[in-house]
Symmetry: C2
Subunit: 316 residues, 2 copies
C-alpha cells in the first residue's frame, strides 16, 4: 500500500493528511503554525509530524511516494517562493527545505488556492473535469486555476489572482495591495461585512442586522435567507462583482467549471443563484452557461490537493 | 525527410506552408477562400492544393506527418466548430472533413489566433517560452493563449477572447457581440481609426490627418511618429485600454510573455512603449514586469503554428 502525504500550511495552522494512492484519507490532523526564523520552524515542525506518523503507521521508505504541500503565497514554476507574508518567509525553496529534513523524500510545493483546486478536481466538486477555476471567498478572495489537469502557476506565481481585478471603479477605500475597487475588497468575508455595514449606514430601512451589536457572515447569510432587504442587497451587490470577475475569467480560460469555496460558501445555494444570475448578464459570446458549483471538500481541499500533487508526479 | 503542412484558413484567403520537421519552410502559397455549401468547397480546395503539392514534391504517404489547420472561429477541445461566421460553416468537425479527403492523413484543427501563438512560440518572438499570450490587433482584437506549451481552447472554444473585455464602460456604440466598451471596439485597426475620427471631431487642434480625405492606420501611425497630437492621443488612449486588458489577463494566467501582432503592430516600438507604460500603472502585485514584444512572423504565424500542431502530436 503506497502512501502520499498532503500538507496545507496556513497562517494559523498546518493541516496534514495521509492518503492511500486511490485517494482514501487514512488520517488527518493539524498543528498550530509557529512562525520564526524565515520559516525554519515550520519545516522542522512538518518534518517532525510526518516522521512521527511514519513511525506510528510502520511505513517503509519505499511505501512513501512523497509529500505535496500548499503554501499561502505565490509559488513560481521553479517552486520558488519569493515572499510569503503570512508565513514570514522570503527567497526560499520550501520543497528543498522539507525534503532535506525527510531524507530526500520527493516534495512538491504549490500555492494553497491552486492546490485546493487540484484537490476539488480529484475528489471534490470538479471530479471528471480537466479545466477548473476555484474561487475561495475567505478573509480575502483567492483563486486556483487548473488547465488540462495541471496547476497554472504563472511566471511570477501570480496566476489566478482574480481578487485583484478592479470590479468597482468607484470604490474609495484601498485594497491590501494598494489598488482600489478590487474584488478582494468586495466578495471576501471582510468585504461582504464591510458592504453590509455601509448599506446599513446609507439607509434607514429595517434590518434584523441592526439589532445586533456586531454580526458575522453567517448572521448576514441567515438574514438574507429570511428575506432581510439589506442583507439581500449586500449579497446581491457583492456577488454581482464576483460574477463580473468570473465572466472576465471565462473570456481568458473558458473553464469547464467554476467552484466557489471559503467561508462565504456557507451561504450555499442562495450564493450560487445570485452569482449565476449576474454571470449570465455579463456574457455576450458564450453559447451555453458554464457550471458554477459549491466546492465540496471545505478545509480538506488543501490536503487532498497536496497528495494529488505527488500522485501526478508519478506520471512525469 | 518528414513533412508537415500548415494551413491558415481566413475569410479572404487560405495560406499554405510545407515544412520540414525542423521547422524549415520549404514552400508557401495562398488561394482565395471560396465560401459555399457549409464549407465543403473550402475543404475540397485545401485537399486539391495539398494533393497537387504532394505530387509536385514527389512525397510518399509515409513522409507526411499530417496537416495542422487554423480556423477563424471558436474550436472546442473536441475540435468541433459550432459556428464560424467568416467561413459560413456550422456544426462541423473540420479535421474529419479534411482527413477524409486526404486518405486519412492526420489533421489537427485550432482557432487561428491560438495557432498563430503556437507558431510564434515555435519560430517567432516567443521562442523558448512555454506560456504565451498573443494579441492580434487586426479588423478585431483576437488572442491566443499557450500554457505549458499547449494551446488553451476552453470549454466553448472561447479561451483568449480578451477582445470582449469591457475596458471603457462609458462607450455608447455597440461591439459586434452586442456589448459595449469592449477592447475589440477600441484597440483593433477599426477601433483606432474610429477613435482618431472621434478625437478629430471633438477638437479643433491642428492635425495632419485633417488634410486627408480618409486615412488608414499606417497614416495614423506615421503622424504619431512625427508628433501629431491627435494621432498620439489616439494611440495613447487605445493602447491604455489594451494595457488594461493585458493587466487583467496577467492576473489570470501570468504568462511568460505578451506578443502584439496584427495590422496595428506595424506601428512598432512606439506601440510597445505606450502599452508598457500603461501596463505597469495597472499592476499592483507583480514584482517584475512581464515582457511585451512585437510578434515576428506576421502573416506566416498561422502556417508555422499549423505545422507545429502536427509535430507536437507526435509526442502524444
Amino acid at each position: 500500500m503506497n502512501i502520499a502525504f498532503g500538507v496545507d500550511v496556513g497562517g494559523t495552522d498546518i493541516k496534514f493528511g495521509m492518503f492511500q494512492e486511490d485517494g482514501r484519507l487514512l488520517s488527518k490532523w493539524r498543528i498550530p503554525t509557529r512562525i520564526a526564523d524565515n520559516g525554519q520552524r515550520i519545516f522542522d515542525d512538518i518534518a517532525e509530524q510526518l516522521q512521527d506518523k511514519i513511525k506510528e503507521a510502520s511505513l517503509s521508505a519505499e511505501q512513501i511516494l512523497g509529500i505535496g504541500c500548499g503554501i499561502p503565497g505565490p509559488v513560481d514554476n521553479q517552486s520558488f517562493v519569493r515572499t510569503c507574508v503570512n508565513l514570514g518567509i522570503t527567497d526560499i525553496y520550501p520543497g528543498e527545505e522539507l525534503s532535506k529534513r525527510m531524507r530526500g523524500l520527493p516534495v512538491r510545493i504549490g500555492n494553497d488556492a491552486n492546490v485546493a483546486a487540484l484537490g476539488e478536481m480529484w475528489k471534490g466538486s470538479a471530479r471528471g473535469k480537466r479545466n477548473v477555476l476555484l474561487v475561495t471567498l475567505g478573509t480575502g478572495v483567492g483563486s486556483g486555476i487548473i488547465i488540462d489537469g495541471r496547476i497554472v502557476n504563472g511566471l511570477h506565481g501570480l496566476a489566478g489572482e482574480i481578487g485583484h481585478f478592479t470590479v468597482d471603479p468607484g470604490e474609495q477605500e484601498a485594497c491590501t495591495c494598494g489598488g482600489r475597487g478590487h474584488l478582494n475588497q468586495i466578495a471576501s468575508v471582510m468585504g461582504v461585512l464591510r458592504y453590509a455595514k455601509r448599506f446599513l449606514q446609507e439607509s434607514r430601512e429595517y434590518s434584523v442586522l441592526r439589532e445586533k451589536e456586531d454580526f458575522n457572515c453567517i448572521d448576514l447569510t441567515n438574514a438574507a435567507k429570511e428575506g432581510d432587504a439589506i442583507a439581500l442587497k449586500t449579497l446581491n451587490y457583492c456577488m454581482s462583482c464576483l460574477a463580473k470577475a468570473l465572466a472576465i475569467t471565462a473570456h481568458v480560460i473558458d473553464p469547464d467549471i467554476f467552484l466557489i469555496g471559503g467561508g462565504m460558501a456557507k451561504a450555499g445555494g442562495l450564493l450560487i443563484d445570485l452569482i449565476e444570475k449576474h454571470y449570465l448578464s455579463n456574457l455576450y459570446l458564450m453559447p451555453q452557461r458554464t457550471e458554477i458549483r459549491l466546492a465540496a471538500l471545505g478545509n480538506d481541499a488543501g490536503i487532498y490537493g497536496g497528495a494529488k500533487l505527488i500522485l501526478d508526479r508519478k506520471g512525469d
